[in-house]
C-alpha cells in the first residue's frame, strides 16, 4: 500500500512556485510593461540595419549601410546634420529620438530570404531592435516585412522594387520609400517611345524571383501598350554569373531590343556579356539593336563601365539632382566616404530619418503610433520633391528619374545622366490596380 504525501499546503506551495516560474519569462519581457515589442529601456534605442554585405547585391547593401550609419550620426547630433537641415518636418533636433541616443546593430542578409529572416529575428529577439531597415532584394524585403509584422516591430524597407512589396504582400507594419516596377515602366516607356519608336520587338531576360517577375510584367504591359511586341521572356537564376547561354538565343530571335530585368552583380554580368556578344553593334529589322535596364543604380553603372553608355533605365533618386536636400546629403556622404551616394543609400538614409521623425511626432516608439504618424504623411526636402506616404498601401509617391548611361564620361562618377524627371502624377496608380491587388495591410501589430 502506497502512502500519499499530498497536503493542501504542499499543493498550494507547488502551484504558486510553478505559476511564478511560468510567468517569469513573460514578466521579464519589456513589452509586458509597455504594450509593445522591445520598448526602449534606459537612455538608448536600437535600430537594426539588415543589408546584403555579400552576394550579388552586396555593392548596394554596403552603400546602404554607410548611409544608415550617417543617418544615426545625424540623429545623434554628430556631423553637419545632412538632410535634417532641409527636411520639411522640424521635430528632429540632433539629440537622438525622444531623448534617447540611437545605437544600431548590423546584419548580412547575403541576399537570401532565409538568412535575412534569421538575421532580423536575431536583431529583434537578441539585440532588442525597435525597428528594422534595409534590404537590397524584394524577396528579402517581403520575407523580413512579414517577420516584422509578426514580431510587432516597424520595417522601413530599403531597396525593394517589386510591386508585391506594397501590393499583394503589403503589411501594416511595413513602409516603402523606394519606387516600384510599375513606376519605373510608367516613367521609362514614354521616353523609350520617343527615342526608339513604336515598332519594336523586345526580348526579356528576367531574374527568377518576385522583383524580376514584377519588373518584366510592368515593362511588358507598358511597352505593349505603345505597340511593342514581346518576343520572349526567359527567366534566369539569381547569381547565375555566366549568362551566355541565355544571351546567345537573343541573337537570332528577331528581337531588336533586349530588356535586362536584372539588378546588381547580375546586371553587370549580363550587360557586359550582352555587349561581348556584339548585341549593341547589331542591326535587326533595319534598326539598331538596343539594350534597356529598367532599374539602374550608380554602383551597377560603375561596375559595368563603358558598357552602360547610351543605355536607358530609371532611378528613384540621383546625387546630381539640384535640390537643397540632395545637395545636403551628397555633401555629408561625400565628405565622410569620398564618393557620391547611390540611390539605395539615399533611400535607407531617408527611411531612417522618416522613422525617427514619425516616432518623435507620435511621441512614442509604439509601432501602432508610428504607423499612424507615417500614414498619409506629406513631406519635402528629402531629395525627391513633395512626397507622400500613401496610407492605403504604405507606398511613397514622388517624381521618378529616367536615366541614360553617359556617352562621354568626364570623371569616375560621371556614369549616368538624368534624361527626365518624370512628374509624380504620371507614375501614380490606384492601390487596387491589378498589378498590386490581392494584398491586405491588416491590422497594426505592436507585438504585445
Amino acid at each position: 500500500m502506497s502512502k500519499s504525501n499530498f497536503t493542501r499546503r504542499g499543493v498550494m506551495k507547488t502551484g504558486a512556485v510553478t505559476s511564478a516560474g511560468l510567468m517569469l519569462p513573460t514578466y521579464l519581457r519589456a513589452e509586458n510593461h509597455t504594450g509593445f515589442t522591445n520598448a526602449p529601456q534606459g537612455d538608448t534605442v536600437k535600430f537594426g540595419f539588415n543589408v546584403p554585405q555579400t552576394g550579388p547585391y552586396a555593392d548596394e547593401g554596403l552603400d546602404e549601410l554607410r548611409a544608415q550609419e550617417l543617418a544615426v550620426e545625424h540623429l545623434n547630433g554628430i556631423g553637419d546634420g545632412g538632410m535634417l537641415n532641409t527636411f520639411s518636418s522640424k521635430v528632429l533636433d540632433g539629440t537622438g529620438v525622444l531623448g534617447k541616443k540611437v545605437e544600431f546593430v548590423t546584419g548580412d542578409t547575403q541576399t537570401k530570404s532565409d538568412v535575412a529572416r534569421a538575421s532580423a529575428q536575431s536583431m529583434i529577439q537578441k539585440d532588442g531592435c525597435i525597428m528594422i531597415t534595409g534590404g537590397s532584394s524584394s524577396g528579402v524585403a517581403i520575407a523580413v516585412q512579414g517577420l516584422c509584422q509578426e514580431a510587432g516591430v516597424i520595417f522601413m524597407a530599403g531597396l525593394t522594387h517589386s510591386n508585391d512589396t506594397t501590393g499583394k504582400d503589403r503589411k501594416r507594419n511595413g513602409f516603402r520609400h523606394f519606387f516600384n516596377a510599375y513606376m519605373s515602366a510608367a516613367a521609362l516607356t514614354p521616353v523609350l517611345e520617343k527615342v526608339y519608336g513604336t515598332d519594336r520587338r523586345a526580348y526579356h531576360l528576367t531574374a527568377d524571383y518576385t522583383w524580376g517577375w514584377s519588373q518584366q510584367e510592368s515593362m511588358a504591359a507598358s511597352t505593349e501598350a505603345i505597340g511593342w511586341e514581346t518576343v520572349q521572356n526567359v527567366l534566369t537564376p539569381v547569381g547565375a554569373g555566366d549568362f551566355s547561354s541565355y544571351i546567345a538565343p537573343v541573337l537570332n530571335s528577331g528581337a531588336d531590343i533586349l530588356v535586362l530585368n536584372h539588378y546588381g552583380g547580375d546586371m553587370v554580368n549580363s550587360l557586359t556579356q550582352a555587349i561581348q556578344f556584339g548585341l549593341k553593334d547589331k542591326q535587326v529589322n533595319g534598326k539598331n539593336f538596343e539594350i534597356i535596364v529598367p532599374l539602374y543604380s550608380e554602383l551597377m553603372a560603375a561596375g559595368a563601365g563603358s558598357n552602360i553608355q547610351g543605355v536607358y533605365g530609371s532611378m528613384n533618386w540621383n546625387w546630381q539632382l539640384q535640390d537643397a536636400g540632395t545637395a545636403a546629403f551628397t555633401k555629408s556622404f561625400g565628405e565622410k566616404y569620398g564618393f557620391p551616394p547611390s540611390g539605395a543609400a539615399h533611400s535607407c538614409y531617408v527611411q531612417t530619418l522618416l522613422y525617427a521623425d514619425a516616432v518623435t511626432r507620435a511621441g512614442s516608439f509604439n509601432p501602432c503610433a508610428v504607423v499612424e504618424a507615417l500614414e498619409d504623411f506629406d513631406f519635402d526636402g528629402m531629395g525627391n520633391g513633395p512626397t507622400s506616404y500613401r496610407g492605403a498601401d504604405h507606398q511613397c509617391f514622388k517624381d521618378v528619374l529616367v536615366m541614360k548611361g553617359t556617352e562621354a564620361p568626364t570623371s569616375a562618377y560621371d556614369t549616368l545622366e538624368i534624361v527626365e524627371v518624370t512628374p509624380r502624377a504620371q507614375v501614380e496608380y490606384d492601390s487596387e490596380h491589378p498589378m498590386f491587388a490581392g494584398g491586405d495591410l491588416g491590422a497594426c501589430n505592436p507585438g504585445a
Binding site: 555579400t54 552586396a58 551566355s244 546567345a248 538565343p249 552583380g265 553587370v268 557586359t272 561625400g334 562618377y413
Partner: protein
C-alpha cells in the same frame, strides 16, 4: 541550325573551364591520391592575380587640377598612373589594356609556388589519412583562401576586361558557310577555348613525351615499384601539385574577362568540376577533359528556350541528371580505371 552551333560554342567555352579545373583535380588525385577541394580556390586565386596585375598597372599618384571641380565642388584630384610616368603614356596604356594576358607571366611561377607551399606545408600531412579527412581539410582551406581574398579585395565582382583588340565578335557563321552575322561569337571566348586546348595539349604532351612525365605516369600506376627503382617520386608528385595549381591559375586568369572575379567564384566551379571528374572517371585525365566538354555542351543545350519549355528548370539540374545516369550505367565513369577509390 545556327542556334545549335551557338550553343555548341557556348558549351565548348564553359566546358573549357570545367575541363581545365577537372584536369588539375585529376592530376592531384592521380599522383598524390588527394581529393583536393581547394582546387576551385586555386582557380579563384588565378583570377585575382589578373585583378592584382590590373590594379598594379593602375596605381596612380594624385595631381590637383585647379581648373576642374569634383562632385563636392572641390578642385579635381586627377589620378596619374605611375606606369604612364615611367614608360610613357602609349606604353602605359598598352600595359593596362593587355593586363590580363600579361598576368599569365606572373601567374605561372606564383601558382607553382602556392602549390608547392600548400603541398609541403599542409597536404602532405594528409596522404595517409582517409579521403574524408582530406576533403574536410582542403574544403576548410578553400574557405580560408576565399575569406582572405574577400578581406583584401571586398565581396563584389571586379571588372577585368580583355585587351581591346579582343573585344567584339568573330563571325563564325561565315567560316561555316552561313550568312554574315548569323553566328557571331565573342572573340575573347574563342581565345579562351583555344588557350584551354593548348594548355590541355601541353599537359598531355608533357606527361606522354618527356622522361619526367613517363616517371610520373609510372608512379601513378605503381608508386611503390617506382620508389624501389631509386626514383624520388615524392618530389615529382610535389612538382605535379604545383603544375596542377598553375593550370588552375592560368584558367582563372583567362576566365576573368568572361566572369568578373569575386571571392566565391572558385566554389561555383568546384562542385561542377567534381561532378566532371566523377563522370569522367576518377584518376582518368582524358576522362576529365572529355566529361568537361560534354557536360559544358549539355548544360548549354539545356538552357535553350525550346528545351526549357519542355522541361522547366532543366538547365539547373542537367549536369547532375546526366551524372546519375552515367554512374548508374558505368559506375566507374566514362573512362575510370578499375581499383581507383574502390578499396
Amino acid at each position: 541550325m545556327d542556334a545549335i552551333i551557338l550553343q555548341i560554342l557556348n558549351g565548348l567555352d564553359k566546358g573549357s573551364a570545367y575541363a581545365l579545373i577537372a584536369l588539375g583535380l585529376t592530376l592531384i588525385f592521380g599522383t598524390l591520391g588527394v581529393v583536393n577541394f581547394a582546387h576551385g580556390a586555386l582557380f579563384m586565386v588565378g583570377a585575382f592575380v589578373a585583378v592584382t596585375v590590373q590594379k598594379l598597372f593602375s596605381l596612380s599618384y594624385i595631381e590637383i587640377d585647379e581648373t576642374r571641380t569634383d562632385f563636392l565642388g572641390n578642385p579635381l584630384k586627377v589620378e596619374m598612373p605611375y606606369i604612364d610616368h615611367w614608360f610613357g603614356s602609349a606604353t602605359g596604356a598598352w600595359m593596362q589594356d593587355w593586363s590580363v594576358p600579361l598576368s599569365i607571366l606572373v601567374v605561372v611561377p606564383f601558382m607553382f609556388l602556392v602549390g608547392f607551399v600548400l603541398e609541403r606545408g599542409l597536404i602532405k600531412h594528409f596522404y595517409k589519412r582517409p579521403h574524408a579527412d582530406q576533403i574536410l581539410v582542403t574544403f576548410g582551406l578553400a574557405i580560408v583562401i576565399g575569406e582572405i581574398i574577400k578581406a583584401l579585395y571586398g565581396a563584389n565582382p571586379i571588372q577585368t576586361p580583355p585587351p581591346s583588340a579582343f573585344l567584339g565578335t568573330v563571325d563564325v557563321g561565315v567560316m561555316l558557310g552561313f550568312e554574315p552575322n548569323a553566328i557571331a561569337y565573342p572573340t575573347w571566348r574563342m581565345v579562351y577555348f583555344a588557350f584551354s586546348a593548348v594548355i590541355i595539349a601541353c599537359v598531355f604532351a608533357f606527361l606522354q613525351f618527356t622522361t619526367f612525365g613517363m616517371v610520373v605516369r609510372a608512379g601513378m600506376a605503381d608508386r611503390e615499384t617506382v620508389g624501389m627503382l631509386g626514383i624520388d617520386i615524392d618530389k615529382r608528385f610535389t612538382f605535379m601539385f604545383g603544375l596542377a595549381a598553375a593550370v588552375a591559375g592560368m584558367a582563372g586568369v583567362m576566365y576573368a574577362p568572361i566572369l568578373s572575379p569575386h571571392y566565391n567564384i572558385g566554389m561555383d566551379f568546384l562542385v561542377l568540376s567534381f561532378v566532371v571528374v566523377v563522370v569522367g572517371g576518377m584518376g582518368s585525365l582524358p576522362g576529365a577533359v572529355l566529361a568537361g566538354f560534354m557536360l559544358g555542351i549539355l548544360q548549354s543545350f539545356a538552357s535553350m528556350n525550346e528545351v526549357k519549355a519542355l522541361i522547366p528548370g532543366i538547365d539547373q539540374i542537367i549536369i547532375y541528371l546526366v551524372a546519375i545516369i552515367i554512374l548508374l550505367t558505368r559506375p566507374r565513369g566514362l573512362m575510370g580505371r578499375k581499383g581507383v577509390m574502390e578499396e
